[in-house]
């Protein structure tokens, strides 16, 4: 018991571990890496720094790759400093990961060892307002919810770090990449450990920063308008700006809560909010949810996530699939008691935004041809499910429902992204070009068997195929909407499950199978690209294998709801299997899989393409979905004409009114000086007249005041 308490008390070590790696890499190994590059001295300015990277360690161009390749600067081999950066990050993260797993397992098997409300692992009163009106504290808190999320973050981080060794093997920015990754993990853990809105907001912005840095990692890469792909730098900017829009609501919500209770702490707020007007609380919680909409890429702020796919694929797996985008879900789970206290509109908003997003993103994912973009929309869709889970759970189930899907989704979605990265990496080596279009893949199954099999496992898991992880977490959410008689949500989530199965198997077949392959087209088939792709190295395939395990078994943690919120229902395999609704879900998922199999394994791709193109309605639908409902274009118009229009008006106001006043004051002073200087005649006598005249006037004034004025 005492040992267990000590175990939890030192949990801050997990938080500080990635920060330590970050410091070591930035001030140690990365400097070593830069100094070990000859010809160009260690530089200080940003532009020169990238010049070093572009020239590589030998100071010469490394021109193996094709002309239309991305501009990612390459090096023939990594310096010792760069390799050390990777080892530092992986080694420290491995320790943190093991530690967090030990804590999780201890708390699962010895539920009493961790107090129900959790413990503060670090408490620092930054500023306490006299009289106890308000306090601003930095509190890191550990409870079951934080532990579950921490395990996800550290595990996926560790595997992604390991994977990055292979994926970024020839990138000149290798050390910088690891520095950003460790910074991200630290920021994410700040969110995980946060006990109040103040700390969570700091973490919130820090992950935004790391996300920005990592999306825009390949700063020199150009946009590809033909594939609707922005340049990484503009994608990074878009992500940052879209998050700011959500954060405006978030911070206003926090301010409403703080102004009415005088505390940021989640624990104190959950008791204090009962005194707030219920309507105001509902508004505040919906505003807080705006932050989650931005961070978790829900409609209407989802536009940044597909663009964020311009970042390196490990980043997409870690940040834009498994952890950061789930921060919104985690934040709602954290503030769950506040939503319970608020009116039903708060949870209703969460559930409906999630449901609409899930359906919207799933329909868009149906027709995408970019490998990573399918996964991006799939992530948006699955995050929608999590919000539905949080929105319909109520106090009976607690935040466990949404968190369970987050937990399983993190593993299989990270696996999907890393598998996709493995394919892109392999194709890059085979073609010397960047290939992300699934129309240039096909039949890769026998060529890269480990990637294909693990990808198939993840596909089945996300599709809700029975006895895979996603089956348990997703079907529980769908079934609960029916139990709550929320038929609108039920139909949307159920339909989305079918769409999910369809687009995931479609992506699998387009990449790894095809008509003509074995197993009826599921394995192998014609390869539509160039070169000879082959399996990726062990650094890439090992994380895939390791992630495939939780993608199957993570769903068997039936006590998850109870773990997150003591007293919540415990899942039971026989109950799940005897529920008719479960089998409706399975049938819908199987139907989606069957349609995908029929269309892509049984029908000739050219024939299918011709059929869609010749049917005006289908073609229009396809274009509509392919452009994601033209929402990006709509935002473009909105910003170009409305936002910029208002900006022009404001600029005119600034130029003519604000500047007018400022310049007018200056001009007045100038005029006064120019015309008033003639008062200075240079004749002493005129000064004397002024002086004594002034004295006379003052004397009369004083006399008058004393005689008739206020003195009397």
């Amino acid at each position: 018991m005492v040992i267990a308490m000590a175990l939890y008390q030192y949990a801050w070590a997990v938080l500080l571990a990635p920060l330590l790696s970050f410091v070591v890499i930035v001030f140690g190994t990365r400097v070593w890496d830069l100094l070990s590059r000859p010809h160009i001295a260690a530089t200080t300015t940003h532009a020169e720094e990238h010049a070093v990277e572009a020239h590589g360690s030998e100071g010469e161009d490394y021109g193996e790759h094709g002309e239309d390749d991305d501009d990612d600067p390459k090096v023939p081999r990594l310096s010792a400093g760069a390799i050390a950066s990777g080892y530092v990050a992986i080694g420290i993260m491995a320790l943190a990961c093991i530690y967090s797993w030990i804590m999780l397992l201890t708390s699962v098997f010895n539920r009493q060892s961790l107090p129900a409300g959790g413990i503060d692992v670090l408490h620092y009163d930054w500023f306490v307002q006299p009289g106890g009106v308000a306090s601003y504290s930095i509190i890191f808190h550990l409870d079951t919810l934080a532990l579950a999320m921490m395990v996800v973050v550290t595990t996926v981080s560790l595997l992604v770090y390991f994977y990055s060794q292979g994926y970024m093997e020839d990138s000149a920015g290798y050390a910088r990449f690891f520095a950003y990754l460790t910074l991200f993990t630290f920021s994410m853990l700040v969110i995980v450990f946060a006990e109040n809105f103040l700390v969570i907001f700091v973490g919130w912005e820090l992950v935004g920063l790391s996300s920005y840095l990592l999306i825009g990692f390949w700063i020199n890469k150009r946009a590809k308008p033909a594939e609707l792909r922005p340049s990484p730098s503009s994608a990074a900017l878009q992500a940052f700006v879209a998050n700011r829009v959500g954060d405006v609501g978030f911070i206003i919500g926090i301010m409403i809560l703080f102004a009415n209770t005088g505390t940021f702490s989640f624990a104190q707020l959950s008791t204090a909010v009962t005194h707030i007007d219920k309507n105001l609380l509902t508004v505040a919680m919906i505003l807080v949810f705006c932050g989650a909409i931005g961070k978790s890429a829900q409609v209407p702020l989802h536009v940044w996530l597909p663009s964020a796919m311009e970042g390196p694929t490990p980043v997409s797996a870690l940040i834009h699939a498994a952890t950061m985008v789930a921060a919104g879900v985690y934040m709602i789970a954290r503030t769950f008691p506040l939503y319970v206290a608020a009116g039903p509109a708060a949870f209703g908003t969460v559930a409906w935004v999630g449901a609409i997003t899930a359906l919207f993103a799933a329909t868009v994912a149906l027709v995408q041809s970019d490998f990573k973009r399918v996964l991006a929309y799939s992530t948006i869709s699955q995050l929608g499910y999590m919000f539905v889970g949080l929105g319909v759970a109520g106090s009976e189930y607690g935040p466990g429902l949404g968190m369970f899907h987050l937990f399983t989704h993190a593993f299989f979605k990270a696996l999907l992204f890393l598998g996709a990265g493995s394919v892109l990496h392999s194709l890059h080596h085979a073609t010397h070009r960047e290939v992300q279009d699934m129309r240039l893949m096909g039949g890769l199954g026998p060529k890269m068997p480990i990637t294909a099999i693990t990808w198939l496992i993840a596909t089945l898991s996300i599709s809700g195929f029975p006895f895979f992880a996603g089956f348990f977490s997703k079907d529980t959410i769908i079934n609960l909407t029916a139990e709550r008689s929320d038929w609108g949500l039920y139909i949307i989530t159920l339909g989305t499950a079918g769409l999910t199965a369809f687009y995931m198997l479609r992506a699998y077949i387009l990449a790894f199978g095809g008509k003509g392959g074995s197993f009826g087209g599921l394995w192998g088939g014609p390869y539509r690209g160039e070169g000879q792709p082959h399996e990726s190295p062990i650094t890439i395939t090992l994380p895939l294998i390791l992630l495939a395990i939780p993608s199957v078994i993570a769903g068997y943690w039936f006590g998850f709801f109870d773990y997150i919120q003591p007293g919540a229902p415990v899942l039971n395999l026989s109950t799940i299997l005897s529920d008719a609704k479960t089998w409706i879900g399975v049938v819908v998922a199987l139907a989606g899989l069957a349609v995908a199999y029929t269309l892509y394994c049984r029908v000739d791709a050219a024939k299918l393409h011709a059929f869609v193109q010749n049917n005006a309605l289908l073609r229009a639908t396809h274009n509509f979905l392919y452009h994601a409902y033209y929402i990006n274009e709509l935002y473009d118009l909105l910003i170009r004409y409305v936002v910029l229009g208002i900006s022009h008006i404001e600029q005119a106001f600034d130029t003519y009114v604000v500047d007018g006043i400022v310049n007018g004051v200056a001009r007045l002073a100038l005029l006064l000086g120019r015309d008033g200087r003639y008062v200075e005649t240079g004749r002493v006598q005129s000064y004397m007249i002024g002086f004594f005249g002034g004295v006379a006037v003052l004397a009369v004034l004083v006399f008058a005041l004393v005689t008739f004025g206020v003195g009397k």
Binding site: R677, Y678, E680, T681, G682, R683, V684, Q685, M688, F692
Partner: protein, 107 residues
């Protein structure tokens, strides 16, 4: 009816006004200087008056006003010497002592 403080104050005021008039209206620099001297002496008269007619102890035993008057006389003498020297210097340079034409300090 003997002398009262009012006599001194009225005399001082009259002298001051005469001096001020002279200092402002005369064109000749020496006449202006004389006006200034009259103003200074007007102040001296007032000082002496206040000093002499003060009956409040312990201030009445102090001679502050009279000592001030002696100071002013001293300073006025020094000032007259400096001012006359300046007038001579200006006269040598500009061949005039008309203060209306001495405007080298103007804008």
């Amino acid at each position: 009816m003997g002398l009262t403080l009012n006599h001194f104050l009225i005399l001082g005021a009259i002298l001051f006004c005469i001096g001020l008039y002279g200092a402002i209206s005369k064109r000749n620099a020496i006449a202006v200087l004389m006006g200034i001297e009259i103003m200074l002496n007007a102040v001296n008269v007032t000082m002496i008056g206040f000093s002499f007619f003060n009956h409040v102890k312990p201030y009445s035993t102090y001679l502050t006003g009279q000592i001030f008057a002696i100071f002013i006389i001293t300073v006025a003498a020094a000032e007259a010497a400096v001012a006359l020297a300046m007038i001579i210097a200006i006269y040598r340079k500009r061949e005039t002592v008309d203060v209306g034409e001495i405007d080298i300090m103007k804008w």
